[in-house]
């Protein structure tokens, strides 16, 4: 008799372990491929997985084989022109004929790269490996304002709404058994005596009556044990635990003055995207506020932020003022983790830079988890950079870096968020 087994719903991902081992073993190569892949990608699909290719020789599984050379005499099918004794020129590989090896290699990708797909999670894991959000834990604990209730066992007093019926009834049953058992044992033995007395003396005898009375008393005692008592009651215990804030707001501040050309804007965009992706790995909910500025600042939507063309002079402080105001209006209730990222070419109106430094240092940084400034310029540091440099020592939640070309973005990002060994 045949057995037919439907295995389709059996454990899936049997090879997951082997896949993990593969990833672990070739982590070096994969990491290298990931960072190379980043250059070739547009920002928008950074959210997908990635095709990774590793040189096949790095992961070969060697075995002893015959090499080319020596004598090979082989049979081929489909003779259409040859007779015995014909001499043929050696073909230059390909076409199967006379290729020297008996069997075609079963690993067709001998010289090529080994290509496979990383999932989004794996990709981002590698992408952001060794990076962390600075000051994350400390501020979270300091600023807890949100609580959630959760169950924590049972207690013996509480509001009737929280009565746990199963626990209460279980307690009542136990109490009834415990209190009633001495009587029950006595009742059983009396009953036995009564049966004997009945058999020996008959219904109307003294002994029987006495036994019956005693039995009635005992039964009444058992009856009087209450079915449920107030100390049987158990209540669900609910406690409040502080909940770390799982939402964050990210301020993107970008200079769109005349000196910021498309190329620089694209670089800034890449930087913002990286930061956004990085935050999504820590926080459940993220809001993004886009502020662009030239001489005046304006809150805009994402599309306008990156694509609209405007230009003019540069007053950076206008953007910081706007950021401060938005921050105070919407995100100052302590439930938000606030991150700021500012990108500029650093070419600010001279008199404005000290104002920026003061604004940032006194009114924005105290609220922020982290504020990163990137200056996108190929030349010397501009005046804003010099002003901000004064802040860097005083505030450990402020960092600044310079980006000169698109290839710098990822290293700079890593530099800003690299794990600090405490």
């Amino acid at each position: 008799m045949v057995r037919i087994i439907d295995r389709r719903f059996d454990s899936k991902n049997k090879s997951a372990v082997n896949r993990q081992r593969f990833m672990r073993r070739f982590k070096q190569q994969i990491r290298k491929a990931v960072s190379e892949a980043i250059h070739g990608r547009s920002i928008r699909d950074l959210d997908n997985g990635e095709q990774i290719s590793i040189p096949a020789r790095d992961l070969s599984e060697p075995s002893l084989q015959h090499g080319k050379g020596g004598i090979w005499e082989q049979i081929f099918p489909g003779n259409d022109q040859f007779s015995a004794g014909d001499r043929i020129k050696r073909p230059l590989g390909g076409d199967g004929q006379g290729s020297g090896k008996g069997k075609a290699s079963n690993e067709g990708e001998h010289e090529d790269d080994f290509v496979f797909q990383l999932s989004r999670e794996e990709f981002l894991d590698l992408f952001f490996e060794d990076l962390e959000l600075p000051r994350l834990i400390r501020t979270q604990l300091a600023k807890v304002t949100d609580y959630k209730t959760q169950r924590a066992g049972f207690k013996s007093d509480g509001t009737p709404a929280n009565i746990n019926i199963i626990r209460s009834m279980r307690g009542a049953l136990g109490r009834r058994l415990a209190l009633g058992s001495p009587y029950s044992a006595r009742i059983r033995s009396l009953q036995q005596e009564l049966d004997e007395a009945l058999a020996r003396y008959g219904e109307d005898s003294e002994e029987v009556r006495a036994l019956r009375e005693e039995l009635a008393v005992l039964r009444a005692k058992v009856e009087r044990i209450p079915f449920i008592d107030s100390f049987d009651l158990r209540y669900n215990n609910r406690i409040k635990v502080p909940r770390p804030t799982t939402q964050a707001v990210m301020f993107c501040v970008m200079d769109v003055s005349g000196s910021m050309d498309e190329e620089r804007k694209a670089m800034a965009k890449r930087f913002f995207m990286l930061l956004y992706l990085f935050l999504t790995r820590t926080y459940e909910h993220i809001e993004v506020v886009f502020i662009r500025h030239h001489t005046v600042a304006k809150e805009v939507d994402e599309d306008e932020f990156f694509h609209s063309r405007e230009s003019g002079g540069t007053v950076v402080s206008s953007a910081l003022v706007l950021m401060r105001d938005i921050l105070h209006q919407r995100y100052a209730n302590g439930q938000w983790n606030i991150y700021g990222a500012q990108a500029s070419d650093g070419d600010n109106w001279d008199n404005d830079s000290p104002i920026c430094g003061r604004l940032l240092g006194n009114e924005i940084l105290p609220w922020c988890q982290y504020f990163a400034y990137v200056e996108i310029t190929a030349g010397d540091p501009q005046n804003l950079w010099r002003e901000y440099a004064k802040l860097e020592g005083a505030h450990d939640n402020f960092a600044m870096q310079r980006i000169e070309s698109p290839t710098d973005i990822y290293p700079v990002f890593r530099e800003l968020f690299k794990k600090t060994i405490a």
């Binding site: 045949v2 037919i4 899936k12 015959h66 007779s83 015995a84």
Partner: protein, 522 residues
């Protein structure tokens, strides 16, 4: 029934009553599969196919890829190389570059046949006939499988192996086990006894004896290496007896028993890889026979059912289309050519043997006097049981098949600037073509002959391997890396020598290594 079954031919095996046709259409159900299996089992019995009980398992494409990755076995230990194969298969499949096999069949008792859920009902029927009756009977009958594998125990043994290796990983760390397995895998092809018969595997015995073996082996090895070598200044005038006294072909066996610095658990892991290599050894040698046999039987069984009126025309059309694809042999100059298709050659040869038995002509009587006109079922049974590809081709390849395939032999000598057509499918060439094709399936020609030659017992404990080239074929460059793996297992210097045409021995490569401290596995 006690009467002997009449020789099956479609006419005599016809049901007395008009039978109920088998379900048709493309959607399968479990009931339909069971009915197909019942009918196929009935017909297979008419042809006296002796099989293990059948267990059919329905799996998804992903599970099929899992099975691919772990060399077709339902259980296996964990190793990154299986992950690599899985990724490669998955990529190929998802992009549509390759299809998956319709089935995988496992040489176990009961014989497990995996069917993919994507298959149509026709394909399921075909696959059951092919795997559950064709391959199954071959596994049970062929002498190589009977000698080298133990179908009752293989699944249990794999469970044991996986469990053991997991334990080792817990105790000694994943990475260390992984490195050890890497080295063993590199030697897998050299971990086979080609001539000795292996003892049977059994889970209970394995478990019971594994511990004893550990202790015993360790004591043996320690004894062998107990004293530090005393350097003999008198020089090598005295002829030292070699160790091992005879060259040893099974490298993994030799290392398991004799490598000085391996710890007991490492020896056990070497043994596990060796046992699994041994299990797959017959499959590598019977590809043409086995696939041809299974293809012949699915073709014969399904045609039988069709003649009985059980199969619909639509079933036959789909089946034949798929069958024809499988047995297609592209000519040498086609871009699809990749060697001789074992399905095509095997199927053609089995069909031809039946023809020789049933309708022999003069040529057949001249070439095959002993089987021309004999009972084809008996001849089949004998051929299936007692041959492997090499001897099967040498024994049964007929001039007709050579003509049909239009076979010709090409001699490629690297000392000659041109290739030479040494024989073609004509009267003077048949024997030569047959010899060459048979030699092509000779494992000795396909895989390099490397054996353990000597261990320097009184010197630096170095291990010398000797490669005896076959027809001057050199080793591929991967040999260097393999040698490093040998050195890792052996723990001391490993040399590879090569025997030249004139008998002179040349040092090919040497990996120096010395590990003094025990338990440190580099």
């Amino acid at each position: 029934m006690t009467t002997t079954t009449p020789r099956p031919s479609p006419a005599s095996a016809r049901h007395p009553a008009k039978p109920l046709p088998l379900p048709s259409g493309s959607e399968w159900t479990e009931d339909a599969i069971a009915r197909y299996n019942d009918e196929l089992a009935r017909v297979a019995a008419l042809y006296k196919l002796d099989t293990y009980p059948v267990q059919i398992e329905i799996i998804t494409a992903e599970q099929m890829m899992d099975a691919y990755a772990s060399v077709g076995m339902p259980v296996n230990y964990h190793h990154w190389s299986f992950g690599k194969h899985f990724l490669a298969t998955e990529k190929g499949y998802k992009r549509g570059q390759m299809g998956l096999a319709y089935e995988i069949v496992i040489n176990s008792n009961p014989c497990i046949a995996y069917l993919m859920e994507e298959n149509t009902l026709t394909m399921q029927g075909l696959v059951i006939a092919h795997a559950a009756y064709g391959h199954n009977s071959f596994f049970k009958g062929n002498y190589l499988f009977r000698t080298w594998t133990n179908a009752d125990a293989i699944i249990d043994y794999l469970v044991f192996a996986r469990h053991y290796i997991t334990q080792c990983e817990e105790r000694h760390g994943e990475e260390e086990v992984e490195l050890l397995l890497d080295s063993c895998h590199a030697l897998m092809n050299l971990g086979v006894d080609r001539y000795k018969r292996p003892p049977k595997l059994s889970l209970a015995k394995e478990k019971l004896r594994q511990q004893e073996r550990e202790e015993y082996l360790q004591s043996q090895v320690n004894d062998l290496w107990r004293t530090l070598p005393a350097h003999d200044v008198r020089g090598g005038s005295r002829a030292e007896p070699r160790f091992p006294p005879e060259p040893e072909e099974n490298l993994l066996y030799f290392i398991e028993k004799n490598a000085p610095l391996l710890e007991p658990w490492q020896r056990e892991v070497v043994r596990i890889v060796r046992k699994i290599a041994q299990y797959f050894f017959p499959q590598r040698q019977t590809q043409v026979m086995n696939e041809g046999w299974a293809t012949f039987w699915h073709y014969t069984l399904l045609n039988h059912l069709y003649d009985e009126g059980l199969l619909a025309d639509s079933f036959m059309l789909e089946f034949l289309q798929s069958h024809t694809n499988v047995v297609y042999q592209p000519p040498y100059n086609s871009r699809w050519f990749s060697g001789i298709n074992p399905y095509a050659l095997g199927f053609a040869m089995w069909r031809d043997i039946r023809r020789i038995c049933e309708e022999p002509d003069d040529e057949d009587r001249r070439w095959f006097p002993e089987i021309a006109g004999s009972d084809w079922l008996e001849t089949f049974d004998f051929a299936m049981r007692n041959f492997k590809d090499e001897s099967f081709v040498a024994q049964y390849l007929s001039p007709k098949v050579m003509r049909d395939f239009r076979m010709f032999a090409v001699l490629d000598d690297d000392r000659d600037d041109k290739l030479e057509v040494s024989a073609i499918h004509d009267d003077s060439g048949f024997r030569k073509v047959r010899d060459i094709l048979s030699d092509q399936y000779n494992l000795g020609g396909r895989e390099p002959n490397v054996q353990v030659w000597n261990v320097d017992l009184h010197g630096d404990r170095s291990l010398t391997l000797r490669h005896t080239p076959y027809l001057r074929r050199p080793l591929a460059t991967t040999a260097d890396e393999v040698l490093r793996h040998v050195a890792r297992l052996w723990g001391f210097t490993v040399r590879l020598e090569s025997v030249g045409e004139d008998g002179t021995v040349q040092l090919q490569n040497e990996v120096r290594g010395e590990r003094r401290k025990q338990g440190v596995f580099p």
